[in-house]
Symmetry: C2
Subunit: 407 residues, 2 copies
Amino acid sequence: MSDDSKDIPADTAADLRSRAAELDAADGLAKLRERFTLPDGVVYLDGNSLGALPAGVADTTADVVARQWGELLIRSWDESGWWTAPERIGDKLAPLVGAAPGQVVVGDSTSVNLFKALVGAARLAAPGRTRLLVDAATFPTDGYIAESAARMTGLTVVPVDPSHAAEAMDADTAVVLLNHVDYRSGRLHDLPALTAAARAAGAITVWDLCHSAGALPVGLDEHAVDLAVGCTYKYLNGGPGAPAYLYIAARHQADFDSPLPGWNGHADPFAMTPGFEAAQGATRGRVGTPDILSMLALESALDAWDGVSVEAVRAKSLALTDFFLECVAAYVPQGRVESVTPDEHERRGSQISLRTENAREVMGELISRGVIGDFRAPDVLRFGFTPLYVGFADAERAARTLGHIFG
Amino acid sequence: MSDDSKDIPADTAADLRSRAAELDAADGLAKLRERFTLPDGVVYLDGNSLGALPAGVADTTADVVARQWGELLIRSWDESGWWTAPERIGDKLAPLVGAAPGQVVVGDSTSVNLFKALVGAARLAAPGRTRLLVDAATFPTDGYIAESAARMTGLTVVPVDPSHAAEAMDADTAVVLLNHVDYRSGRLHDLPALTAAARAAGAITVWDLCHSAGALPVGLDEHAVDLAVGCTYKYLNGGPGAPAYLYIAARHQADFDSPLPGWNGHADPFAMTPGFEAAQGATRGRVGTPDILSMLALESALDAWDGVSVEAVRAKSLALTDFFLECVAAYVPQGRVESVTPDEHERRGSQISLRTENAREVMGELISRGVIGDFRAPDVLRFGFTPLYVGFADAERAARTLGHIFG
């Protein structure tokens, strides 16, 4: 990409590139990029869909296949710690979502965990309540699964705008399902206030953390969330389709009644008794045999977080998205794109979504020029900023490339 | 292991070893062992719990991690065929269970698939029927999940002895859940007759193929089974916790109503519409984002079946288990072990289960001597025979080692 194209003034570009270099030089997290393997010449802004490859995963996976499976074979269920991986990795992930140990268990997909959480929530809720409030702009699978959970527990789904969800919570509200960050707009919802409102209304909260965990502080324990789910392949970089997780607050564990009581969630699975007796703790959120290859890749991927504070990540994320918006304003002709992500920091996740005409074609052009974001129908360009491996020069180049396309 | 120990007559051992060598030399499948990586000096008879490592998996997994994920990143969902893997691998697996293409989808655990199948079966069943018949000796998770599915669909679980299940099927029977091969005893149940009986009674069948698929012909289409599930980490060698599969007979697909309608099972998932519209075909059995590392390891593992007929595998399996029983009779002092696996070929799976005192300790001793089987509470030694990589000399050595322990 040359700097001398006619559509962007050279001094504007020079100034922003210089600013980016200064910001990168001052960035205390910049060295974390070494913990990832990224292709040369690419600006990767799709870590909100599939996180980049952490450096240690290839060696871990090779060892899991060749030695743990190939040589130790069945013994690895004990000797390589396979059996206890769901709880062990759950505890490794827990600090990133503000959970004390023993409350997070890894396994299954987000959709499956959501089904467990919603049915479990319906069974924890006060008897007689009939409404399941669901974020009306939710990522679709949450809505589909909520309909199924409602159908099977006698509840009725009520779509709500998360900005006004608190007002909709009443004495007939059993369960509230909300996304922490909206997948399309990047809007961050007020988890502390909405959780408090649900508690005040006597409802059980289920939070979907897919687009927030690993990008900003969540504070599940601090804010007394009841149940939560999330994936691990976005900001947690666990790999394609890496196992999701389920958070069951300690105070609910004894009463959590899963609709998927598989043998891995049994108090004594190898006794192989005919009757189900749920294990203590988050273990009762387990179902079947864990997918070890995907799971141990995730465990290795989480090493990228060693010594990293989520608060520092959040500060860099806001600085990155602020700077990207500044660059977009400087490079892209006025009126060609409109940010649908809130400007206010307290309402912004770790992505910027720009609405534009021909969004699908524009994203295709960006990708062909080495800037990888993604497209969400009908008209949104999404740019995800993962502070562990994205820098300010990346943000500048992405905006400049977008400017060239519209130039 | 020396031949001159006092507890086994040298001529008996010499004769059986010579027989084993002849049988191995005449075995048309013997060369398939080269398709697996097995540790030296070990007789592995636990492929009915975790299959051995197929030779190509390590390279495939390394490529999936380093190139497909690390370099292609998000583009691999299309370019590396990630998105279509569940159906593609389902079709690759389908011939092993006697299914025409388009009816098997891979993903999730066996327990989760069982929940889909049982709830789906309850919704396919004639209205008003109340009974869910379940194999009383089932692998525990099937019973636990059946209780949950029954609770959530208004059915009542009725435990039945599979040998007498046909007599229990009546006009009030909605669904019948049976194991093709019993995990503990190795008993093979009569899938054609039991499926026909269920059909005659107007009930929907759900078969669990965990302990039969890859070891013997199943014939799902031929026998008009309605729904089936199975794991892929036993005789299919997909790796620890590899994704399971769901079979939905073509005639039921349009009406199959999954309790886990995740976005991957939507007719147009990337339209991201708020209402769920189920995809056509087996795709509607999909739920969330597939666990790609585990799934593509399975795809590679299935290459071990190239050019192999399940009928030939079955013939060798029966020959192996016959020979093992003969060796056990010759080597183990009378009265020390008792086979709980049926002698009749038409009632035998691909394992031999021997009941004995102190079974846990005996299996520990076998393993310490390089013969790996497993123990199932309270008193069963299990020896699984995977014809792709187990030979007659393995069977002889396993029985001889057992004889030494009891000598």
